[in-house]
């Protein structure tokens, strides 16, 4: 083909294709390399809130919109994968829910908005009213616990505390747990074995639920701290599961699973939560925080036979930490930060916060709301007393910015499974876990440094 005619030539076709591909690819890449520079959460005053649907009922949305004309709320059910995708596309929600413990990774990656200026100006949600649990949302550029605030806790609990069904204790002729003195983990397992009821290869009553599906790193870290040891090194870049204290903690979980006294990832509950099984009177003890009591206000069949007990201990040091502390944060790329803050004021310090405190769904994160905790029903009074006593032993867990909680729990769970199934000894599993976790931490450090 030598002249420009209306006919196609192979060379021209290939050249055109290359130019088109190059053009489109370059355009795509230029925008890709600038990921997150565009987009938004909708029109002016349209606030996208990503939270559990049960935590933001329609009435509450209507109330907020009535009190804040011009702001419309779009509710998204919280989903970690969806949140990641939205963050990746540069079009995040304006507010998202997250645990304060575990926020270090998000903060180190520069994904959250510094809320300190808002806190300093606000007459509703004031810095001076924040309880220490909010410190887990703080980040100073290298570690959490100090520096600017990147989130505010909505409610929290000391999550290692226990709730138990006295009727099942009575049936198994097991004495009740103390309201003030913590049981040891070894005794707790022994009690769980006595409470477990099996029949024909299936478990009729679980002795103990650990909410295995939710968190493994926090309880294990707590167990190590209770023995006066540390899981992490000073700068949170490495862990060591081969110490005697860590092996003991890991080994306890292995023994728990092998004893078959409670759900594990190898024998999970269908709804990945202890609550329904406990409510069905098929679980004698569950390890859940103060918030768990909120489930039983209307449950007349169960509320007269439930009690709360202090967090168990593995060593001599009594520590009862918060594993998570769910709260709200504003993504750095939110297009409606001021409106988002208005919502935070309403939700965390307004009527919803007061209602939550009165209901007993966790401890409030603001000092003025503490007296609002319920003490009407007998079980609420008992739980209130236990919780007040437990507050004396509150402690913060280390939160490495170099690893996500999801990654932590997945790597621990896989190591536990290998040990539970006797594919590895506890010592070998702990050594492997140390290697795998440190590899993740190293990768994470490289990623955020």
């Amino acid at each position: 083909m030598t002249r420009s005619s209306g006919l196609i030539s192979r060379r021209r076709l290939l050249a055109s294709a290359a130019v088109a591909a190059g053009g489109v690819a370059t355009g795509g890449l230029l925008s890709a390399c600038n990921a997150g520079s565009s987009g938004g959460s909708g029109g002016k005053g349209n606030l996208t809130v990503m939270i559990g649907v049960q935590d933001l009922p329609k009435e509450m949305i209507a109330d907020f919109e009535k009190k804040n004309p011009g702001i419309k709320i779009t509710l998204l059910q919280h989903d970690a994968t969806r949140l990641n995708a939205m963050l990746a596309s540069g079009n995040p929600p304006d507010i998202s829910v997250a645990g304060a413990v575990g926020s270090a990774n998000v903060n180190a990656r520069g994904l959250a908005t510094d809320l300190t200026p808002y806190l300093e100006k606000s007459r509703v949600l004031k810095k001076d009213d924040l309880l220490p649990v909010n410190d887990s949302f703080r980040w100073d550029g290298s570690r959490s616990g100090r520096g600017a605030y990147y989130g505010v806790v909505k409610d929290w609990s000391q999550d290692a505390t226990l709730w138990y069904n006295t009727a099942l204790f009575d049936r198994a002729k097991v004495p009740y747990l103390s309201d003030t003195q913590p049981t040891s983990y070894d005794d707790l397992l022994a009690v769980a074995k006595r409470l477990t009821v099996k029949s024909g290869g299936t478990t009729k009553v679980f002795g103990l639920g650990l909410e295995w599906a939710w968190n493994l790193i926090a309880p294990m870290t707590m167990m190590v701290l209770q023995q006066g040891e540390q899981l992490y090194n000073d700068d949170l870049t490495e862990v060591d599961f081969t110490t005697a204290a860590a092996r003991r903690a890991f080994g306890w979980y292995v023994e728990f699973a092998r004893a078959g006294v409670g759900p594990t990832s190898l024998n999970p509950l269908p709804d990945v939560s202890d609550q329904s099984t406990f409510s069905a009177k098929r679980m004698a003890i569950t390890q859940d925080g103060y918030w768990f009591g909120g489930n039983f206000v209307e449950d007349t069949a169960l509320r007269d036979s439930i009690r709360m007990a202090p967090a168990p201990v593995m060593g001599d040091k009594r520590i009862s930490p918060c594993y998570s502390g769910q709260g709200l944060w504003i993504p750095a790329k939110s297009k409606h930060k001021d409106e988002a803050w208005k919502f935070m004021e309403y939700y965390l310090a307004g009527e919803p916060a007061e209602t939550r405190a009165k209901s007993g769904w966790g401890l409030p994160s603001l000092k003025p709301l503490l007296p609002k905790l319920p003490q009407t029903l007998p079980y609420q009074k008992q739980a209130y007393t236990v919780a007040q006593n437990e507050l004396r032993y509150a402690g913060a867990l280390p939160d490495s910015p170099y690893i996500t909680l999801d990654a932590w729990n997945a790597v621990i769970d896989k190591s536990l499974q290998r040990a539970i199934k006797n594919e590895q000894t506890v010592d070998a599993a702990c050594a492997a876990l140390t290697r795998e976790a440190n590899k993740l931490l190293k990768q994470g450090k490289e990623q955020v440094s």
Binding site: L7, I8, A20, L29, N84, L216, P270, D406, K414
Partner: protein, 307 residues
């Protein structure tokens, strides 16, 4: 169509007619591929503005990553087992149903139905069947004195995944059936007249005649099997220990590992490098299958083509 010169095609209609595909290819294949390659040269975590170029470091790390290699070997093992079984199974079923039976249409429908059921529904069904404590399979085995087996845990999960794959044989069966019905009966009859038995007729007449379809099934089967991801994730016992179901080691295939790198560890750069390497692996496997056709695929040549 004989070899027409390119210059005999008018340019405008040509571009007009190919443009939908070309644009689709560029937007949905070429650009994402190029984007993934660029990302693979960074330490991008999917959302943080703090990323930087790392050159080919992700690729270097990948070649030393034992878990990625193990996942790749597992994937190849799955493919090596699933594809022959699927092809042989669908061919066997098609052969059985390519005869004059009573209610043959009904039988064909029954065998085809599972392949049109969405994979999620199929996985839920098999999770119920294979559940260790309440599954019907262990209940039946228990009735004859066999202990409960953890079908969804290691090491049985691998075979459960194969079983789930074979449950969808109906789609391949229909294609094979069409191929079998395209074999001229006079060829088979001639072989029978020459004294060939059923097996020899099948082996030397039927099979060569349908070999292009068998090749198609193998090629697409290899590509699909290597890329398997949804079924292992769905078959895993849900435990919410992370946003990703805890996939047993025996079904922890390459794409599951990629998924974890992206969404569990937020390593978009490394995950993209894994995908690019995998793209090349699949390309090599496909070329090997393609190359092997010279020795076993029989294409009828249309003698009238050049007239």
């Amino acid at each position: 169509m004989a070899h027409r010169k390119w210059s005999r095609y008018p340019r405008a209609p040509f571009y007009l007619f190919v443009s939908p595909w070309v644009l689709g290819f560029l937007a949905l294949t070429a650009v994402p591929l190029a984007y993934a390659f660029v990302i693979s040269l960074t330490n991008f975590d999917g959302s943080s503005p703090r990323w930087r170029w790392v050159g080919f470091r992700n690729y270097v790390e990948l070649f030393g990553d034992g878990s990625a290699w193990a996942a790749l070997i597992r994937t190849i093992a799955y493919t090596a087992l699933a594809v022959p079984l699927s092809v042989a199974g669908s061919l066997g079923l098609a052969t059985l149903l390519n005869r004059r039976l009573k209610a043959v249409g009904l039988w064909r429908t029954i065998f085809f139905l599972p392949s049109v059921v969405p994979v999620v529904a199929t996985a839920i069904l098999w999770k119920l069947v294979l559940n260790r404590d309440a599954g019907i399979l262990n209940t039946l085995l228990g009735a004859v004195g066999i202990d409960r087996i953890s079908w969804l845990g290691d090491p049985a999960a691998f075979y459960s995944l194969i079983l789930l794959t074979l449950w969808g044989l109906g789609g391949g069966m229909v294609i094979m059936l069409a191929a079998l019905q395209g074999v001229p009966p006079e060829l088979e009859e001639a072989a029978i007249v020459d004294g060939a038995g059923r097996w020899r007729v099948f082996r030397h007449v039927t099979l060569p005649m349908i070999s292009p379809v068998v090749f198609f099934q193998i090629a697409t089967g290899v590509i699909a099997s290597l890329q398997i991801i949804v079924q292992p994730l769905l078959l895993a016992e849900t435990n919410n220990i992370s946003t990703i179901a805890a996939v047993p080691e025996s079904t922890h295939v390459y794409m599951v590992q990629v998924y974890e790198e992206y969404f569990l560890r937020n390593r978009f750069g490394y995950g993209s490098a894994m995908l690019w390497v995998f793209f090349l692996v699949i390309l090599v496997f496909t070329l090997l299958v393609q190359r092997s056709t010279r020795s076993w695929v029989y294409y009828e040549v249309d003698g009238d083509a050049d007239r």
